[in-house]
């Protein structure tokens, strides 16, 4: 029954069914916090390939929470990456220079705002961030009231993988501390959103004032596995 279903809690097998070749995949998290580590591992265990990854950063530290995604990039299963911060993944530069990887580098706030625009029906927005640098090359410059800006376009995805500290079965979610980051804006920006939560509670147990991700942005809820 869609976005208002009262129980969206599903199994690993049902989540794996959603991973399709050719999908664009948004992944929440900043560094080690708010990262859907269980879903990333499941994604790497699926056969999905020809993926586009949209995320803030993606460390290739072995055993790290981003490692399943980094190893998929290394293996050529993610030929396109749209990302803000590359320093923690030493594979990206050489693969990009060798023509093995399409890399779109996006300032972090512009990445967030483009995702929000995609989520919220904004056709594009005017910014000064990166104007007259490589970032603005090829993008239209538009003057508003004597100030120069350039146009950035919205970003959407086929799938969003997001992480919450606590969620109810319907998908309402609370992201504690700095784990809100990209999770709150990616959840509404994808055609299908899977949320993993450290703790899943019954509907009605969360305070309606404290919801960071409203249930209607979430299609599926899974339990985080320990150690991710």
């Amino acid at each position: 029954m869609g976005k208002a279903a009262p129980d969206k809690v599903k199994t690993k097998a049902e989540a794996l069914d959603q991973f399709k070749d050719g999908s664009s995949v948004m992944v929440g998290g900043f560094n080690k916090v708010g990262v859907p580590g269980t879903l990333l591992r499941w994604l790497s265990e699926s056969p999905a390939k020809e993926l586009t990854l949209i995320c803030n950063n993606c460390s290739n530290a072995e055993g790290g929470i981003w490692y399943p995604a980094a190893s998929m990039i290394k293996a050529g299963r993610i030929p396109t990456v749209r990302i803000s911060y590359l320093a923690t993944n030493t594979d990206l530069r050489p693969m990009w220079e060798a023509g093995e990887l399409e890399l779109e580098i996006i300032p972090q706030g512009t990445l967030a705002e483009r995702i929000r625009a995609g989520a919220f029906g904004i056709g594009g927005f005017l910014t000064k961030v990166g104007i007259h640098t490589q970032i603005s090359e090829g993008k239209p410059i538009i003057e508003v009231d004597g100030e120069e800006y350039f146009l950035e376009k919205p970003l959407k995805a086929d799938i969003a993988l997001v992480k919450a500290t606590k969620a109810d079965k319907m998908g309402n979610a609370i992201c504690h501390g700095t784990s809100k980051n990209f999770n709150t804006i990616m959840a509404p920006a994808a055609r299908f959103t899977i949320l993993e939560a450290d703790e899943i509670v019954e509907v009605g147990q969360l305070n309606f004032d404290h919801i960071d991700i409203p249930s209607i942005f979430v299609d599926m809820v899974v339990q985080s596995e320990k150690g991710t």
Partner: protein, 223 residues
């Protein structure tokens, strides 16, 4: 059929048939909201109010009133389990971003191209669009609930709206006391007709051509 109350109920009942189980909807004040009283058993919809709540419940009883919790019509309501509250930027992000399955709104005029006029009657009424322009631009399905003609008997379904527009070609379905009309690429099609009227009467009181297949097999609206 008795005027006023019954017409409103009749329209609301037929709007209810268009709302599917699990729909996330935003309903205008009046007939649109009334529709939730007529949802069939087993059908529930999840209601957004554009002032910042999802899971908008019924009117609060005296002892349940939370002064900070109202719907878009300013009624003190309760928030249902699974509901949540948010600010206007997020609320209209939900609306504009296509996260609503449907919206139901009233209208002054609708035309065969799906144009809608409901925010400005020059010289008479200037309510402002409020959230209506956002709703009709963003919701996946736009349903109009209105009486088929004005108080003076003039058609409100037209070849072309003459009043200032609320939206351009975004209306999907029109539910009136005479018919349910569906917009198609060719024009408005009669999806159902009121049991208490005739095709002739309907066509006579409509300001544009209507499409229908076999005049004898047009489905009837529910009474």
């Amino acid at each position: 059929m008795e005027k006023e109350i019954n017409i409103r109920e009749f329209i609301a009942k037929n709007v209810a048939t268009l709302l599917k189980n699990g729909y996330v909807v935003d309903l205008g004040v009046g007939m649109p909201t009334l529709a939730t009283n007529y949802l069939p058993d087993g059908v529930t919809v999840f209601i957004q109010a554009e002032n910042g709540i999802l899971g908008c419940g019924p009117k609060a009883e005296e002892d349940e009133i939370d002064p900070d919790l109202i719907d878009a019509g300013a009624a003190n309501i309760v928030c249902l389990p699974g509901g949540c509250t948010f600010d206007s930027a997020i609320s209209f992000g939900i609306i504009r971003g296509g996260h609503l399955d449907a919206t139901v709104l009233g209208a002054l005029q609708v035309d065969e191209k799906g144009n809608l006029a409901n925010w400005y009657l020059p010289g008479k009424m200037l309510p402002g669009p409020g959230g209506a322009m956002d709703l009709v631009a963003g919701a996946k399905k736009v349903i109009i609930a209105m009486e088929h003609t004005t108080k003076h008997g003039d058609p409100k379904v037209l070849k072309e709206c003459t009043l200032p527009l609320t939206s351009n070609g975004t209306v999907d379905t029109i539910v009136t006391d005479l018919a349910i009309l569906e917009r198609t690429p060719e024009g408005l099609k009669i999806a159902a007709i009121a049991p208490h009227t005739t095709l002739e009467h309907l066509l006579q009181h409509t300001g544009c051509d209507l499409i229908y297949d076999d005049p004898d097999s047009i489905p009837l609206m529910i009474a």
